[in-house]
Every structure is written in structure tokens, then in C-alpha cells.
Amino acid sequence: MEEKKVTLKLDNVSKSFAKIENDEVTHALNEVDLTLHSGEFVSLVGPSGCGKSTILRLIAGLIVPTTGTVSVDGKPVTKPSPERGMVFQKPTLFPWLTVEKNIAFSLRMQGKLKGNEDRVHRMLDVIGLDAFKDDYPDQLSGGMAQRVALVRSLINEPDILLLDEPLGALDAFTRMNMQDEILKIWYEKKQLAIMVTHDVDEAIYMGTRVLVMDANPGRIVEDIHIDQTYPRDRSSASFVEYRNRILNRLHFGGNS
């Protein structure tokens, strides 16, 4: 099947939040312009409070921009849609549903489950958890749960895949394994993937493009294209160069 090509545009997008305790307003995101296309794997890095998660949630449609518009192929985003799949830092698997039913949740909600059961099984195959399909999420390890969460949104074959620090809570080994897994899944479909991360190495290792952000107010300060083929070598000279450049931009580059 030919993949649908989409263009995501953020046009002069700002987002401010009112604090609960007083009348103060924080500017999480200030006048962001951004154009992204299918086939890109975009990493967002930056210190906390720079609005990287806010960008993701705006694209998902979970929140609405204060000013400006978010649009996909010219159509403004107003509410969440399975076309824009999202994976959160917490797996947020529904604890009352088995692994299999968690994966089937989205199809069931859209009334598409009938006749598409094979898609659920294909997803279980992709993550190699077929033997766990009747288990409840509490019985899974963190890595397994996050894999299930990943295919739970992938079952809709979303045009845009939003990853909000999906590997943040995992141990180092599971994390590296899953970086490769996510890349493999993305490489097959070449949808537009946008991932928020704290980890500069991860951002370079996975992204075709790294957006460096800064806080107060939240904005994109640098847009770096990573010209390396996959799989990438974390110790190669150019990788280290990218890392230094980004760390410098984030004001952590003292020794380089």
C-alpha cells in the first residue's frame, strides 16, 4: 500500500498556561513556525520547561494553541485523532484490559474491530509478545508495556507518530533496544515521527532532524539535519560532532 504523504505545519503557534494558584501566565511556547513532512524523524531536545511536550500535545490536538494554527495538509487540528498516534512516557495501558484488548482498543472504539482481528495479531508479532496477549498490563515489565503502548497507537497506521519521551522511564539496555525497534518500525512506513527526549544521544541516534529548544519563552533555537545513514555509530566522529554542537547550543558544551 502506498503510504500517504502529509505535511504538518505550525504557523506562528504560541501557547500560554494560566497558573492555578495566582493570575500569572506562563508562556510555554512563543511564536513557533515549523513545517514537517512524512519520512522525517524529528527529535525535540531541550531543557525542561522549553515547551517540547507542549508542541507534541498541540499537534496531537489534546490542547489548543493560544494563537496561531496547527494544520495537517492545510486542515487545522482541533481535536485528537487516531491519524496522529501518540505514545506517552507512562505506557498508560488500560489495566483492566488484557494486552490483546489494549492493542485492539482503538479499533474497537472506532467500530472497526470486526474483520480486522488479524491486525491485532500482526501488532503482537511485531513486538514479539504473542505469548503475553492474555496477560494484564500489571504483569508486564516497563519495556514490554511501552512496546504494547507503541503498537496500540501504530495499529491505526497513523500518518504522524508522536512520541513523548517514550523511553524516558526505561533502563539503559531496554532503552537502546527499543530505539532500534522504533527506528525499524518507522523505517518500514516512513511516516512522520516526532519524538521528545531529554537525551541528546538518543535524539541524534534516531532523528533525521534534531530541533533544539530553549525555555523562557519556549522556542526552537536550532534546526539540525543529521546526514547519516542508519544504523548510526554512536562513537563516530560526525556523531560526536553533532553531539558537541547540540550540547553547546544547550549551554552544556564547556569542554569542547
Binding site: A60, G61, L62, K79, P80, S81, P82, R84, G85, M86, F88, K90, T92, F94, P95, W96, L97, T98, F105, S106, R108, M109, Q110, V126, I127, G128, L129, A131, F132, Y136, D138, Q139, G143, M144, R147, A149, R152, S153, N156, L162, N177, M178, D180, E181, K184
Partner: protein, 357 residues
Amino acid sequence: MSLKENNSEKNLSGTGDLGSLSRQQLKELEAREKNGFQKALDWIIMILPVICGIISILEYKFIPDGITNRNPQTYLGALIVLIAAYIIYFLVAWIKKMRGNLPCIEKLRYRAPLFSALFLLLGGYDYLTLKTGILTQPFVPCLNAVLNIAWEDKAYLINCTLHTLRLLLLGYFSGVIVGLITGIACGYFEKVRYWINPIIKFLGPIPTPTWIPIIMVVASSLFKGAIFVIALGSWFAVTVASMTGISNVDKSYFEAARTLGASQRQLVFNVAIPHAMPSILQGCTQAMSSACVAITVAEMMGVKAGLGWYMNWAKSWAAYDKMFAALFVICIIFTVVTKVLDLIKRRLLRWQNGVVK
């Protein structure tokens, strides 16, 4: 590449030689071998209920009665039936054990001391009432008398039981259903909570029995009035529990469900309610105990039928044996109802089994 490695994660923990172990087999593997003395003790404990049952029979047969005892065979028969039931249970568990199914006999071993105590208790009670009259007759009637009167008056007792059950279930379920609706609506919609919350705060703390005298005066029929009182108590318990349950649902579940294409209605029915289910069922259990209190009080105070009324009526005729018979029936009904609720709860919450012990 890495996808294959995932499978190895499974292999290490799941499908090796140890992989097909059941919980029971694991327990056996790790358990220390019981020595001869412990094994013998297990057997004695499992046979103990039969011995205690026989002691009760001997006590009943051979100690002379303090008062005249009509139809002495009834209690004897009941004892024999109970002992026979235990023996059958024992045999079934033993056969299962022979076929390799251990949990059944372990359960029996676990329960056997209680059964033994029950038989001793029956014997002791009989000694204190029928044999010696330390508990004065006929105020605390011996079990034989209670069983006899229950059998003689069975038509009326069954009638009253049905009446009680009908009242209890009608009141309970109407309260629970309305409670579910208001509780879920309150938990999910801010506006509904705005209007319903004051009502709950105002009416909630009033103990249900307080309503009964008012209902006696106001209600067009006592039966409907009693249903209302029972329903009110259940409504309150279920509303509060489901409201808390729903408003405590982690927001991230709603967000995840929305990005997966769930509509507003689906968020309520497929996320909020299942997530709040433990709390909701807790409310249902609480509602049942409140309903049990309410119905007993209602029947004692005004409703002219049912077991509570039967007890009161028996008391006014000084028919203490009837009173005790009704008490036992009430006890059985409430136990069964609570047990059924518990089974439903376990079934619905089996996803929690790993978490909540």
C-alpha cells in the same frame, strides 16, 4: 534484528524447562518435605471434624435431657447430614488429590479446624440449653426446638423469607441503579456534581432508619415506603463511591484514549467506568449492608410481613423458638447475598488479582 532479541527475553523467563511450571508445582518444588509427624498431624486435623461431629451426637444421645424434647430425631438428623456433607467433601478432595489436584485438599486442611470448632460449638450449645438449662429454656431454645418449629412453620417462614427477599432486592437494586447513574454523572460532569453534591451532603449523613417513622406516615403503601428507605441508603453509598471512583481516574488515561479515537461517550463507558469499577463495587457492597440494616428495621417498625416482622411477632407471642428460627434464616440470607456480591466482584475485578492481595 532487535525484534528477534525480544523473543529471547521471553525465552529466558517463559518457555524454558521451568517455563511451564504452574503456581502449584512451584510451591511443591520449593516447599520443604513434610516429615512423618507433620503428615500424620495433617490427617488427624482433616478427620477431626468427623470426630467432633460424633462427640456432638454422643453428647446429644447419652446425656439426659433437662426438659422434654419433642421429635428428638430432627437435630440428630441435621448433625448426621452435616457430618455426611463433610465426609463427601473430604472424599472428593481426596480423589482430586489422587489425580494430582492438590489445592482442593489444602483448602480442606485449612478449613478443617473451623469445621471441628463448629461441631463442638453445636455440642456445647446443646449442653448449655437442652441438657442443663444453664441458658434458660425457653428463652434461648435448644437447636432441636428451633429446627422443629422451623419445619412446622415452614410455609409461613418461606412466605416471609420471599417477602423480605423481594423487598431487599427491589430496594437494593433500584437504589444501586439510580446511584450508579447519579454517581457516574457526578464524577464525570462538573455541572451535575454542582447540583447533586449538596443533596448528598445534606441527606447523606442521616442514618437510614431515621426515615422509617416519616415514611410510615407519608408513604401511600408501607411496602413502597420501605423500598424507598432501602433504596435511599443504597443510593447514597453507591453514589458517593462511584463519584469518587470516577473523579479519581488518572487524566492520562483519558488523553491516551482520546488519541486512540475514543468519543466522549466512549470515554465514560470504556475508560472512566472500568477504571472506577473497584470503587463502584466497594460502594455496592456497602450498599448491601446498609440495605440489610434498613430492611430489618423497616420490618420491625412497620411493614406487616417479612422476617423482621416475623421475629417481632414471635416475640410478642413469646414464641422464642420461632424468633431464633427467623434469626437463622436472616443470617443465611444475608450471608448468601454477600457471598454472591463477592463472587461478582472477583469476577469483574480479575484484572486486579495480581495487584491487590
